[in-house]
């Protein structure tokens, strides 16, 4: 008997573990769904003044392949039509339409989550020199870069950066001379082209980038920098100062490869602002956005696919088995008496609407009134079913009075009283009365207190958001709860209350 039980429990635990590991490692689910993640909220406001012809606005949208994940996008187009076009590595939002003549506002919002692990794996090819760089500058750049070619990509980039920052030294007199000549030559070039030429000469794939620096601010202009490929990832480099942007502060590139971040045709951009703000969003929310677009079997069959109005029910429902586990624990291991198994759980669910403090007050109040009336009814010699019907009516009457009092004083907790399961309360009054009659009021009060204690504990568990989200994303966890319930069912030891009850037997005579 014992072996199959443990095999079954082990199988349930294993199934849970396998599903969770698959979800976290293969589908990249968060292990702690309630933990908060830092994200960027980007709001781009463009005021477009049409010039009376067809107007087109091309706005570079945040890029996903640069280590950032766009989890949510919202577009308010005004009278314009909207489409997303992919151009090379870029994503362009294109608004087209014939404006009425007045300035129209176009808004783009996105939630961007920096996920450093999601880097591209394909190595880019070495591109040509920028068009502005002539033959002579090319040779000078190659001469300047020659001493760095023996270095690994990372140090090579840092050498270029140091040179741009005028901190380069060493390499003997010939290298110093080359540096001097290059400095003269680069004065004719833009800093951007100079940096690109040097990186090309140093055999590092590089591209110009237009984007936003990660500062919570309203940017009226985009920033420009250079991205160089250092073997595994793109590294940002400021061409003006030679500063290499650290990996820990991911930049927000909008357009790469020289494409402008914003361009308009047939209209004038009256004003444009990129607003960036930090926002902590739970992993759960990020996952929610991601799963909605996933085609994987487990994602398609996730509870997150339910319409939001039904999700709330399941967030609570999935925790009810834990409540049942607690009740089993209380009764079989602690030995705390309760009115049945379901009564504390249903009361706990009702507490969600009334709050536990008001819930207990209402419960005790109605129980007291019900007990008084039941004691009186006992003298009337009513038959069982009509007697229960009278108590039921009394409970409903109490609820009505409470709701009216609540509405008079504006107390929502009392108005929600109707959601307390009245049938359960009716049966509790009857059982409480019989328990008082048969085993005394002490026993009955202990049982009522036990029921309330278990209800409050269960209420705490099912209202715990972290647990709710975890079970919602990993519903397979209830298999493990069932496993624990089975294990508890095999418990043959003493109840805590029995240590007290049989204490005289433990004393040595």
């Amino acid at each position: 008997m014992r072996r199959p039980v443990f095999l079954l429990v082990a199988a349930l635990f294993c199934a849970t573990a396998v599903l969770i590991l698959y979800r976290t490692f293969r589908l990249d689910y968060p292990l702690l769904p309630a933990a908060r993640e830092q994200t960027w909220q980007l709001i781009v406001n463009v005021y477009l003044t049409p010039k009376g012809e067809e107007s087109v606005l091309a706005l570079a949208l945040p890029l996903e392949h640069t280590g950032n994940a766009v989890v949510e996008e919202r577009i308010f187009s005004g009278p314009y039509g909207f489409a997303i076009r992919t151009e090379g590595a870029n994503r362009l939002g294109v608004w087209t339409g014939t404006g009425i003549g007045e300035s129209e506002e176009i808004t783009y919002r996105a939630t961007i989550h920096a996920r450093p692990r999601r880097a591209p794996t394909q190595s880019p090819l070495l591109g040509p020199y920028p068009p502005a760089v002539g033959e002579g500058e090319r040779r000078l750049a190659e001469e300047t870069a020659a001493p760095w070619l023996g270095l690994a990509p990372g140090p090579r980039l840092r050498a270029v950066a140091a040179f741009l920052a005028d901190e380069s030294e060493g390499g003997g007199p010939s290298a110093a001379a080359a540096r001097g000549r290059w400095r003269v030559a680069q004065a004719k070039l833009s800093r951007m082209d100079a940096a690109l030429a040097l990186l090309r000469a140093a055999d590092l794939p590089a591209r110009p980038v237009e984007g936003l620096l990660p500062t919570a601010d309203v940017h009226t202009r985009t920033a420009r920098w250079v991205e160089a490929w250092t073997g595994r990832r793109w590294t940002g480099l400021n061409p003006e100062t030679g500063e290499v942007y650290p990996e820990t502060t991911p930049l927000l590139p909008l357009a790469v490869g020289g494409l402008p971040a914003v361009a308009a045709r047939g209209a004038e951009i009256a004003d444009i602002r990129w607003g960036l703000s930090r926002q902590a969003v739970s992993q759960w929310r990020l996952l929610y956005e991601r799963i909605a677009r996933s085609g994987h079997f487990l994602d398609r069959w996730s509870l997150l696919q339910l319409p939001p109005e039904f999700q709330g029910t399941f967030r609570v429902l999935l925790l009810v088995p834990i409540g049942a586990l607690i009740i089993s624990l209380m009764r079989n291991v602690v030995g705390l008496p309760t009115f049945g198994i379901f009564m504390p759980m249903l009361i706990a669910l009702a507490f969600r609407n009334t709050g536990w403090l008001y819930g207990i007050a209402i419960f005790c109040g109605v129980l007291a009134v019900g007990f008084a009336v039941r004691t009186f009814l006992d003298r009337l010699h009513l038959l069982l079913i009509p007697r229960l019907a009278v108590i039921l009516t009394l409970v409903v009457a109490c609820f009505t009075v409470l709701a009216l009092v609540g509405s008079k004083w504006g107390m929502r907790e009392f108005m929600a009283v109707g959601l307390i399961p009245f049938v359960i309360l009716t049966m509790t009054i009857e059982r409480f009365f019989i328990l008082v009659e048969e085993s005394g009021s002490r026993e009955a009060l202990i049982t009522a207190a036990g029921s309330i204690a278990v209800a409050v504990g269960t209420y705490g568990i099912i209202g715990w958001e972290t647990l709710q989200l975890t079970f919602f994303i990993y519903p397979e966890l209830i298999l493990s709860v069932a496993g624990l319930q089975i294990l508890l069912g095999r418990y043959r030891g003493y109840r805590l209350s029995e240590l007290f009850r049989f204490r005289s037997l433990g004393e040595t005579p």
Binding site: N332, G335, H381, L383, L384, I385, I434, E438, S439, E443, R490, Y491, R492, G493, Y494, R495, L496, E498, L499, R501, F502, R503, S504, L505, G506, E507, P509
Partner: protein, 328 residues
Amino acid sequence: MIGRGVRRLREAGVLGMNRRNAEYIMGHNPRSAYPIVDDKVLTKRLARRFGIPTPALYAVVENHGSIAGLAGLLGGLREFVVKPARGAGGSGIVLIRDRTEQGFVTQSGRVLTPDDFAYHLATLLSGVHSLGGTEDRAIVEALVHPDPVFAGVTVREGVPDIRIIVYRGFPVMAMVRLPTEASDGKANLHRGAIGAGIDIGAGVTLSAVHRSRIVAQHPDTGNPVAGIRVPSWEEMLLLAARATEMTGLGYLGADFVLDREAGPVLLELNARPGLAIQIANRAGLRGRLEETDRAPAALFATAASRVAWARQRFGRVAEQPAGSSPRG
């Protein structure tokens, strides 16, 4: 502290509720046998076939319609007992010792008007006192006149009853439940009656338990509870031992009353006997149950051999060779 408490109980061989339910009740009591013990009408019928005496059955009230006809059915009977057929814990039982112009006189001297009496029967039929709260039958049976042996430790003309735990046909533990003022003359421990352990070997009462506390005297009469020799002990043990064959239940509690004339009479059987008997006997049940499991197979054959072995094994006062230590 908890660990020490658990170890002490385990060493004393105390049986806990969880183990009783899972191993002894689930393990030895087939569910199909429950109706026999849960319904006292069935118990009586079967007991007669097995030659186990029970109080004479006067009438069974099946439905509300026949309540009115009951008075006629009872004829000239002046004393009888009304109880639910499927009652639990002694609730709903009314002892009638006389009939007057006003109505029925109960054991405690209260007078029930015919209206009260009919209401009580209706309550029984509604199933208020029945095990599952389902509709029930009411039975009317002969009133037992208890043997005076426990008169000194009983109040209000209550009827003391003797509970014997029978495991696989072996009587392993016994106690007598003595009514008190607090229990309103009823022999139920949770209502305040006291339970005195009975030595299985000698049939002599031991110390007693009153609301989980050990007591030496009856709380109302003040007489010592220990040392009372139960008459017809051997006969009662044999009847109890045969209840296993009768019901097919491997773990049961048999409740007897000692009638002045008829001797041991079986009141009811219980498929889920309580654990307080351990406190009354100051001994653990689990040790005795496990010892019974190790008994030689040949002993299981007859009630006589089982009783003889159990008396010798679990007795601690007499019929024990000097110097052997008491169990538990």
